[in-house]
């Protein structure tokens, strides 16, 4: 099983005719994702050409795309100035799962977008996230399909390429994945570690979980406590940013140690206190998972 998305998920791509949107739409379609429609205001009525000549209808608005093609999930590749609006449009159109890849959205815009998504009972993944992939089934976002294989590991991460690094080792070691979720590096994200843990907890195929965190905020600490209280499967953790200085934003808008809170040490301790083994190097994640599954 997979969480949030699967081979039946019907995807509308917002910003499908843009540079990033068109590239990743083709990648997703090549992987098998059911991209049923696209949206670019002003380009409604055209067809987007997928790989192998497949055509995807383009609409002016998400409401039309949902109405005409029954999309239930959206992936957003629009520039930061319009991305929060794109989330609100999707939520308003009745899409129930929204992946927002865009980085650099003003945080006050996101307070409103998240509020509307909550009002509409709609889940947002991200923003500033690589998306979600369920090996062999579907991918929404930008995670390269070739680096994953199906298997028993659920993976949740705040980061993109660091996730690839971890998955790379897992896959090489034959430890396939149920679903890999990049929750995003922004301070305000729609889907938290705890949200994903709760989904993985309901998935009988997920036998171990990897959580890749980083400095900033308290999401890892909350996830550790939740995991300890609610999960029966083993969890392996990693925290990036042990050498990050306080008060400096480390690339991700959310990766910042404020005062003395949100440090890697604090998060590592929260993991360990709650029985989560913490890898010291990315490469070690895979061996800890193998151990946990073996034990």
């Amino acid at each position: 099983m997979s969480i949030y998305v699967d081979e039946n998920t019907r995807v509308v791509v917002q910003g499908i005719t843009g540079r990033d949107g068109s590239f990743h739409t083709r990648q997703m379609m090549a992987y098998g994702t059911r991209v049923v429609s696209g949206v670019t205001p002003g380009k409604g009525g055209r067809d987007f050409e997928g790989p192998d000549g497949g055509a995807v209808p383009v609409f002016d608005t998400v409401a039309e795309a949902v109405g005409e093609t029954g999309a239930d999930a959206s992936v957003i590749y629009v520039p930061p100035a319009f991305a929060a609006s794109a989330i609100m449009e999707a939520a308003d159109a009745g899409v129930s799962f929204i992946v927002c890849v865009t980085e650099g959205i003003p945080v006050l815009d996101m307070t409103r977008a998240h509020a509307l998504a909550r009002d509409r009972g709609c889940r947002v993944l991200g923003p500033n996230c690589p998306g979600i992939i369920s090996p062999g089934k579907t991918t929404l976002g930008i995670i390269p399909g070739r680096m994953v294989i199906p298997g028993p590991v659920g993976l949740i991460s705040r980061s993109g390429t660091l996730t690839y690094e971890a998955v790379h080792h897992l896959t090489r070691d034959g430890l396939g994945q149920t679903t890999c979720v990049g929750i995003g590096g922004d301070p305000l994200i729609g889907t938290s570690f705890v949200d994903c843990l709760a989904e993985f907890a309901k998935d009988p195929d997920t036998e171990a979980i990897v959580m890749i965190g980083e400095i900033g905020g308290t999401a890892e600490q909350e996830a550790a406590a939740w995991a300890s209280a609610n999960l029966s499967v083993p969890v392996v953790g990693f925290i990036a940013g042990r050498t990050a200085p306080p008060g400096k934003r480390m690339g991700h808008a959310g990766a910042i140690i404020s005062g003395s809170s949100g440090t890697a040490a604090e998060k590592t301790k929260a993991f360990e206190d709650n029985g989560i083994k913490v890898a010291k190097r990315p490469a070690e994640i895979s061996s800890l998972v193998a151990e946990a599954l073996g034990g």
Binding site: A81, V107, A115, H168, G185, P282
Partner: protein
């Protein structure tokens, strides 16, 4: 982006807020003139982006214009937290009856603006939070409704018992919220918000951080950036669209992705080295960015080795390879470069690098160890 105190105050004034008067100057003579205009008794405050300004001697009270000029002479040019003081703010000394704290920032957990106020103002709020957390009152603002009048009033009554003061404070709090939202701030604070012996409430010190992601649509706010407040490397990185943070080590790092970049720094440290920087070239694979990254890294004289760690997803390894070759060809790099490349177009990248005489590994651990070894 941080604003200077005088800029933050100007922002607040344009929201209608009662703020104590003040003018900036960059010479002792100009400070003397301003002090005369303010009646002689003034405070002279260094305008730098640093919290420790007071302790570092950057804030001085003066009883006369001469004394103000003397303080200005001492403060101008002073180094505070590595930043040179270029300007001072001169304000009349206020007759303070009480000092409160008012701040608003974006709260991760509530996903909304969060006010923090305390009747204990004028001191470091983190200290209050540590020693007397009950003295801090918090209020979340629903972004769908904004700050409602009764909320501003409730916050104000946490600060002042006297209803006349509370009413003024409620107005200040509403104005602070408006300024916060309308400038695209991620944090705005008044510390202290004072009441005077005459029963007036006004803002004495102001701090505002703007969300960098807002700047594209707020040219007025973006224009407040003080180029003298950031290093050349920081400015260069910002202009090139790179995320860069200078550190104290000697292993220069160039990585794609913030999480992987932090993990790379951590691994350098793990293997006994010290990273010289955090540097994320981002998801795009523009060779120009790679060239800029190498220039920024090599402008740090401490750097003994440059470590590339690229996991190609969207980033195409061949683009990075081209950037490396171009940068090394253009400017003579006199430190060794170690490279790890894996993922999209990895083979092509390897060929490009080999043609230029570079080897590239595939294991992050091996390459980091090599870099640490080379850095000595």
């Amino acid at each position: 982006m941080n604003l200077h105190e005088y800029q933050a105050k100007e922002l607040f004034r344009s929201a209608g807020m009662a703020v104590n008067p003040g003018e900036v100057a960059d010479t002792p003579e100009a400070v003397r003139t301003l002090a005369e205009g303010f009646g002689g008794r003034v405070v002279v405050k260094a305008q730098v982006h640093s919290g420790g300004r007071g302790k570092a001697g950057g804030v001085k009270l003066a009883g006369s214009p001469d004394e103000a000029a003397a303080h200005a002479a001492a403060i101008l040019g002073m180094e505070i937290s590595g930043l040179t003081v270029e300007r001072v703010l001169v304000s009349p000394i206020e007759d303070i009856a009480s000092e409160a704290y008012v701040g608003v920032l974006v709260d991760r957990e509530g996903q909304c603006p969060l006010f923090m106020v305390s009747a204990e103002g004028g001191i470091d709020i983190e200290e209050v939070a540590a020693t007397n957390p009950e003295a801090i009152h918090k209020l979340r603002v629903d972004p769908r409704y904004g700050l409602m009048p009764h909320q501003a009033y409730w916050l104000a009554t946490r600060l002042f018992d006297d209803p006349r003061l509370a009413r003024q404070a409620a107005r200040v709090i509403s104005q602070l919220y408006d300024a916060f939202v309308n400038s695209g701030a991620s944090m705005a604070e008044i510390n202290p918000l004072i009441s005077t012996a005459g029963g007036e409430v006004k803002a004495i010190d102001a701090k505002v951080s703007i969300d960098d992601n807002e700047l594209f649509r707020r040219p007025g706010v973006a224009g407040l950036r003080d180029p003298r407040s950031e290093s050349g490397a920081d400015a260069q990185a910002r202009e090139a669209g790179l995320s860069f943070v200078k550190l104290d080590g000697n292993v220069g790092c160039c990585v794609n992705g913030a999480g992987l970049a932090m993990a790379t720094m951590d691994l350098v440290k793990y293997y006994g080295g010290e990273p010289a920087n955090f540097l994320d070239i981002g998801g795009s694979s523009n060779p120009d960015k790679v060239v800029a990254a190498i220039e920024i890294i090599t402008s740090d004289p401490s750097v003994e080795v440059i470590l590339f760690n690229i996991f190609g997803g969207i980033t195409r390894c061949d683009d990075v390879a081209r950037g490396i070759v171009e940068a090394t060809g253009r400017t003579g790099i006199d430190v060794p470069i170690v490279i790890r490349l894996t993922g999209t177009n990895e083979d092509l990248a390897r060929t490009i690098l080999a043609d230029a005489g570079f080897a590239a590994g595939t294991s992050m651990d091996e390459v980091v160890q090599e870099a640490v070894r080379l850095a000595g």
